[in-house]
Symmetry: C2
Subunit: 189 residues, 2 copies
């Protein structure tokens, strides 16, 4: 999506270690008008899929998912990164490695909010190694829900997550795919 | 706001220990059409205040804030609960006690995204003891930003946070104020 690519070129900051900072508009400060445009694009791409729920993961996916969901007219469920091991009640649960914080997060969704009737669109801000989307896929599998695809804002296409997920048969629609980057330079696919 | 009160009556679940579960529409599964109605109400209430940014705190405030921000035409900044003590870069920082998880969270906002030119509306899903909003007020104070008020979805008016914040001079607009509750019964102010 040209609007997102232009914004990344203008306001994204590439740091050493393959870090792309887009925190001025995507995942700390958030440009909700841009999110609405992204939502319209995913709604166009997935128009035929009968999406009835959007599934995302806290924290930075939530804003994008909620604004996008308005374009679909469906609710959002966000998977929670649990810091307490003794959660009461019935939850689907998966372990997701965290590259930002290190270690592993226990990620959960209440069984009341995912089930076999659901046609899910997964939404997340970044796709790099694919750990977060793999976790959401596993939660959907446990629930017996159908995943019609994933909407990603920024894919680091030089990292393996996108290829691996597509090889599994997941439709991944990334609105900006970065082929390579270095400080001061970003090339899109 | 009648629409929110009715939804709480219909789908809210009161559990022992003054716990109100609204996770089917507010803070786990999220009804974004309801969030839009809430956003319209805050936009009406704060129409004269020149809000130029919304400040919230992860995780469950983010969705409400982003949908509401579309009614104001302003960006959202969310304060991050830091799990790493060694954050690089310049941040405003405050400690916020967590009643859900226990202990204390280090809550941070990048100095790039809050400053003296900002007229902030704080948004959060719940107001009970007021710890989260007090933390956001402190971050705004560090930044020299003006806080024009706080928009809260559900206030437990029988807990001290709302009164304490209002006594400090903060304008708090809670869309549903619960006077008392017990399993099977909710009374609004």
């Amino acid at each position: 999506m040209r609007e997102l690519e232009e914004r990344i070129r203008r306001d994204g900051i590439v740091e050493d270690g393959d870090v792309l900072k887009v925190d001025s508009f995507l995942n700390h400060q958030m440009d909700v008008e841009l999110f609405a445009a992204m939502g319209r694009e995913w709604a166009r791409l997935f128009a035929e899929e009968g999406v009835n729920k959007i599934l995302t993961i806290e924290a930075s996916g939530i804003g994008i998912a909620c604004v996008a969901a308005q374009q679909f007219g469906v609710p959002v469920v966000f998977a929670k990164k649990s810091r307490t091991k003794n959660i009461a009640g019935d939850v689907y649960r998966v372990e997701v490695p965290s590259f930002t914080h290190g270690g592993v997060s226990d990620v959960i969704v209440s069984k009341r909010f995912l089930g076999p009737a659901d046609r899910l669109l997964l939404i997340d801000d970044f796709l790099a190694n694919g750990a977060a989307l793999e976790g959401l896929l596993e939660l959907a599998r446990q629930a017996g829900a159908l995943v019609v695809g994933a909407g990603v804002a920024v894919e680091k296409a030089f990292q393996p997550g996108g290829d691996r997920l597509r090889a599994k048969g997941l439709r991944v629609e990334s609105l900006a795919r970065i082929q390579s980057m270095s400080p001061g330079h970003i090339e899109f696919c």
